[in-house]
Amino acid sequence: MKKPVKVEFSGNSTKDDKRNSRRRFIKLGGLAFAGSSFLMYSCSDDDDLPGPKPPEPGDDVFDLGAGNLGVLNYAYALEQLETAFYKEVREGGYYAGADDNEKQIMDDLYYHESIHSAFFKTAITAAVGEGNEDKVLPDVEFDFSSVDFDDRMAVLSTSLLLEDTGVSAFNGAGKLIDVDAELGGTYLLIAGKIVSVEARHASAIADLMEPNTTAFARDEVLVDVGGSGKAYDKATPPADVLSAVVNTGFVKTEFTANELPTE
């Protein structure tokens, strides 16, 4: 049995952090969204922290759900983020002026992430069954106004951040998939089929930034296991991935992750 984690409506762990992330959000997103639309995530262990009681989520706030449904919606959210990013990349000045090789890479990444997104939408819709479409993560809105799409390094470094995050997120999600549930084994295999493609992306982007260095599989993005050396990608739990995603300020649509499994 996978143990669910309860997620409360409080941003980061301390009031200061919370103020900072709110301020950052306002700065990036403009006053129009202030306080109304941002994703927040924390763990149930924070329940005993002092501070104002967080508001209850309203009916209009989507929750990713529990069990394998929650994990699939979580993956779908990350794929939507990547898809939306590459869509904007292809409308920007960097892409317009890029050489054929880099253009092809940006095209491919847009295609792959779009296909992943469409796949998750189809798979989740099928899994929840007819009449339960409200359990499928709706289209999430994003705001990439903090990224200068005319600037090559700005585009590539954001791309790298998203791809590296995708790799660590899928690696961390593998064990959260309940393989004893219906189609569980299939979902685990598909997560494996996607994560290595994300890793191929991350490698290529890092190598565009710093060709023929160790950047494609650099020590700084890898971790050590058991003292054998930094030769392993991270496997990051959803709580950490989602707070990192919040920190980017890219996500406009509020959703919660109250019931995602943690083990």
Binding site: N12, S13, D17, C43, D107, D108, Y111, H112, S114, I115, A118, F119, A123, A126, M153, L161, F170, N171, G174, K175, I177, V179, G185, T186, L188, L189, I190, G192, K193, V195, S196, V197, R200, H201, A202, S203, A204, M209, N212, A215, A217, R218, E220, V221, L222, D224, G226, S228, G229, K230, A231, Y232, D233, K234, T236, P237, D240, A244, N247, E263
Partner: protein, 276 residues
Amino acid sequence: MSFIKFLDKLSDEKALNAKGSRRESLKQFKDFGKGAAIASIPFGLAATSNKAKAATSSMAAAAFQADSTAVLNFALTLEYLEKEFYNIAVDTDGLIPAETKDVFAQISKHEDSHVAFLKAALGDAAIAKPTFDFTGGPGGLSLDTFSNYQTFLALSQGFEDTGVRAYKGQAGALANDNALLEYALQIHSVEARHASKVRRLRGEKGWITGTENTLPEPFAPIYAGEDNTVQGGVDLAGMFPDLGGNNAVTEAFDEPLTMDEVKAIAGFFIVPPEED
């Protein structure tokens, strides 16, 4: 400091400020800290997971352990192969040009780590390193692997792409052991990083399109089945004409290989043990 290093440092600092990740690092520190002997880590950790606890009390426990051992030894065989391949290559004067020395030193270092990890995980159950012949002699080939950089690159690509598919094929077998599954995934995606880089050094895309094989013909099995378009029972063929079509569909999903399929590929380079 390079730009990427700078970015990595920034995101690490951000991560450290998040409560969740600090807790996770502390947990990892406890699990992997100085006090823990490397030899006991993976199975030791596995024993603390709820699933493993449940498994030890079940009739299936013995079979399950045997399965994990077989999977880890299978992985170890591939890692032995990669480690020796890169160790020889980086030590061969004149093989790897100066501009890609850092690339292959990094890959070689990772394969060393993977071998050390798997040997430690298996302890006494670890198989001995086979004898390798990188000319492909056991498969009836005579490749100029360590005197021709292009041959070396081609085999490197083949080993990395095979490694990705091999680990993926064992995910199901490790699914009931959270700790082992996660380690395998963490290695799996590093192999994919390697594969992408080496493919791009050969003028290929970093990802696999259909069953396209640019290695010598006998290595076509490395890419067999990569043209699959059915995912989770949904046939994606024909659904994305404006998004790269079926080529992009096959690129977007890496496919697994079975243990036997991988053994057949690795068999080109493994000298059969002499019969007594």
